[in-house]
């Protein structure tokens, strides 16, 4: 009996040791991930059991790049998707009608269609499909198929069933109808002239979804892999919470074919794990969303390159113009604008990593100027005090101001920035700020409903890279809580609220209809000047984003911004520019 018991103990001990040894001898190719991973035994998602003993060794010769991100995938249906991460993946497996040159957000190129031609009255645009367009499974594209799929954006019932309803934002407000002309031409008939319409065509909504996966009458937010499109990649495997695997599309005939054998997008729950993973070589690229501090830490790591992406996302203050709020008084709004020290914000909170934003339209966009700087020369405490005094405030009768902010959604630094703004306002001696932190789910509706806060902070990233998209959302409708044009539910295009310079709404309409770029730039400049005078919103700073990648990973040196792997101000990460050297 004793011998049997001893035997069992020895067996158990040996078994435990075997497990530990197996674990510690883990054959993780992640230990040396950078460039040397092998092609799997098959292009399907799994290897046959008999191949597994050689799979890992074979994998070591594969050209695979692993991209880490904290973004999650929520929709791959182009008629619905609205998030940056979703658009990035959609544009990987599917090419839009037009595209921006990787690394730029101003150079429009043909995608699966030619550059658009506008009619004389600007009410229709035509694009011609490229020859020989074939989906990744061999299905040939016809113009009728393309028009039918694009009309999913126009289908109000279909849009109503979708969680993100991108058609209600980027199609229906601009487009009257979409029709096929001849064998290869698509015509977009617009509701009104829109000079920026080509930029909209470069968005993920204007990709042609595969009809077998994305039916005309229903959404398919997350199809099962493989997911085929007209782009340079095919999604061969996807687990929404974990990873997405992309392999080259053999039928792609566009300008940016894949340069490596495989891309794996690995999801991380938190930025610190992603930062450690890129530090240790478990991933090759870390992209979205690493804060300035984490990026700074990684600069000192050998074998890593840390680059700042030219900025496009902004942080700004929503200012409520509705009656009943202290900010309905233009003198108060102007005083708030005059008191802000953006340089101090950048230096104190971000260590100089952010760029002060002096106009609602960021630099680099058509017509961008420095309207707020011209109007207020902030920080201008004397002007702020004068304005507040004229508004009837004094040291014994201070302006009581509620300032809402989300403590975590935009990161700790944004919260710190907002609190510093509050201090800057209080430095006038005539303002008392009550900073109110709220969790995002509660905060976002309170900030944008126009009923709760006089001032609150939001971030903004464009839907299409044009000045229109930095102006229209804050002026028309309820202006995301600014209540500029409809403070009393009087919303309508061009309807201007009492007391607001009527030029505001009119200039918005005029620049939208103008197709001459120089004239349009001038109109946009004027619009920003009125915007600053009325303080529709208060722009704060441009939020930087960081890309970190290991040695041996390169972009395309013939394209703009190769040092950021050809990610330009539009934040488009085009996987097919990536290559492995060495």
């Amino acid at each position: 009996m004793r011998r049997t018991r001893l035997s069992w103990r020895i067996i158990a001990l040996l078994g435990a040791l075997a497990l530990v040894a197996a674990a510690c001898g883990g054959d993780d190719s992640g230990d040396d991930t950078t460039t040397t991973t092998a092609a799997p035994a098959a292009t399907t998602t799994t290897a046959a059991p008999s191949d597994t003993t050689t799979t890992t060794e074979a994998m070591m010769d594969d050209r695979t790049i692993i991209i880490g991100t904290t973004d999650t995938v929520s929709s791959l249906d182009s008629a619905d998707a609205y998030a940056t991460a979703d658009w990035e993946l959609i544009k990987a497996f599917n090419e839009p009608l037009l595209r921006f040159q990787p690394g730029s957000n101003s150079v429009l190129e043909p995608g699966i269609a030619s550059l658009p031609v506008a009619s004389d009255d600007g009410l229709s645009w035509e694009v011609t499909l490229r020859d020989g367009l074939v989906f990744g499974d061999g299905l040939e594209l016809t113009v009728e198929m393309a028009v039918a799929q694009l009309n999913r954006l126009m289908d109000t019932d279909l849009q109503a069933s979708a969680p993100n309803q991108v058609g209600n934002t980027l199609a229906i407000p601009y487009v009257e109808s979409i029709e096929a002309v001849g064998d290869d031409t698509i015509r977009f008939n617009l509701l009104g002239p829109a000079g920026f319409f080509p930029q909209i065509l470069a968005g993920a909504p204007y990709t042609i979804a595969h009809p077998d996966y994305f039916a005309l009458d229903e959404m398919n937010l997350l199809p099962t892999a493989p997911i085929y499109g007209l782009g340079p990649w095919t999604i061969t495997e996807i687990t929404a919470a974990e990873q997405t695997v992309l392999e080259p599309n053999p039928f792609y005939t566009g300008s940016y074919p894949a340069r490596v054998d495989r891309i794996i997008v690995q999801r991380f729950a938190n930025p610190s794990a992603m930062a450690d993973a890129v530090r240790e070589g478990e991933i090759d690229v870390a992209w979205r969303i690493l804060g300035a501090e984490a990026a700074d830490d990684l600069k000192s790591v050998d074998g890593l390159t840390v680059e700042t992406i030219p900025q496009a996302p902004i942080r700004y203050l929503i200012v409520n113009h509705a009656d009943g709020f202290v900010t309905a008084d233009p003198l108060v709004r102007q005083a708030l604008a005059a008191a802000i020290d953006r340089d101090e914000l950048s230096d104190v909170v971000f260590g100089g990593a952010v760029t002060p934003l002096l106009s609602p339209v960021p630099p680099g966009f058509l017509g961008a100027n420095e309207a707020f700087e011209d109007a207020y020369q902030a920080p201008n405490l004397d002007l702020a005090v004068q304005l507040l005094t004229d508004a009837g405030y004094s040291e014994s009768n201070k302006l009581q101001l509620d300032l809402g902010y989300p403590p975590e959604h935009y990161g700790v630094t944004t919260a710190d920035g907002v609190l510093l703004v509050a201090q800057q306002w209080e430095a006038t001696g005539l303002i008392e700020v009550n900073a109110i932190a709220q969790e995002w789910s509660t905060y976002v509706s309170n900030c944008t409903n126009g009923d709760t806060y006089p001032v609150c902070v939001l971030g903004w990233f464009f839907d299409f890279p044009d000045a229109e998209n930095y102006l229209q959302p804050f002026i028309e409708g309820d202006g995301l809580g600014t209540m500029v044009l409809c403070p009393n539910d009087s919303c309508g295009e061009g309807v201007t609220a009492t007391g607001i310079d009527p030029l505001l709404g009119q200039l918005l309409l005029d620049q939208r209809a103008e197709t001459d770029l120089d004239k349009r730039a001038e109109l946009i400049g004027q619009l920003q000047d009125v915007y600053a005078d009325e303080v529709v919103t208060i722009p704060l700073w441009l939020e930087p984003e960081f890309i970190i990648y290991r040695d041996g990973i390169v972009g395309d040196s013939s394209l703009p911004n190769p040092q950021t792997l050809n990610i330009g101000p539009d934040f488009e990460f085009i996987y097919s520019v990536l290559d492995i050297t060495g």
Binding site: A23, G26, T37, Q266, N270, S272, A273
Partner: protein, 365 residues
Amino acid sequence: MHPLLTVFLIFGIPAGLALGWVFLRGSESLRRYILTRIAHTVPMVLIQISIVFFVLRVMPGDVVSSTLGPKASDAARENIMEALGLDDPLIVQYFKFLGDVVTFDLGDSFIGARRPITDELGERLPATLELIIPAAIVALGTGLLFGTYAAIRRKRTADYSLRLYSVIVYSMPIFWLGLLLRLVFSVWLDWTPIAGRIDVVTNTTLERTTNLLLVDSIITGNWAAMRSVLHHMILPAMTLGLVLSGVFIRLTRINVIETLQEDYVISARARGIRERVVTYSYALKNAMIPVVTVIGLQVAILLAGAVLTETVFNWPGMGRYLIERISSRDFQAVQSTVAVFALFVAMISLAVDVIYSVLDPRVKY
């Protein structure tokens, strides 16, 4: 076969067989007790999910805004509310929800890709099981080993050290310990991976059936994947297990000390039985009985700890899922996840009580 069903069968069949054996072989009172406990599980889970249902709906914030963000039009919001049934009266929503629960229809997630929650749990639950089971083994193994050693080295340096160690680990925040272990073993020493359940590239070679990656790798003979899974399991399991081991160390120590003073142990020594046999075969076995009881209580803490551990180590389990969905006000997902947690804790608790009665025949219910 759906991964959730496969997991249920993997654990449920042996558990069911064991329970059935105990039921048939046990006393009348034990059979009555088992049936009563099973019956109690239903209202217990019902009360829990009802509380969650109403708390979620009275909390400030709404799923529409957190999903659509600030850009959504009023029409879009109304459409979403209608599609999700959130525009119905609260009491209508509640009874519809109860009806769905009774028919095991967990519904679809409100946010993101609006996937069926069973599909999402089918991915997440196995991940959590693959974390908490090794963690429980670490906690128990460490606790029993160190607790027994502390008991036999009572009032010596080893005893004091282990008691201090048990207090330190138990009071240590799980996320802090996780970050510390990751820093030391993954970053400084480079002995273990940073995060995840399996190496990124190896993952693409593994055919998933149950989403229990260790099981799947063994079934498919993918030994590279098995090694990777075990390698990735070390730190998360240690983090969660070590924190809980503090309780087991102290409990084992106390019980072994008491048991070593029992008459039958003294007489065993007097009969010349070796001290090691006395300690482990006589004392520890009987000292285990109260420890088994505590295991049931610690399961709930294991699940709570899994939430933090999964976040630190990028482990795509149910804990992380629950946090994400609470933030997004995804009522359906939160209710379903809480229901699964409640059921899990109830089942483990029942199993512990049954095991207790098997270990100690003196126990009668």
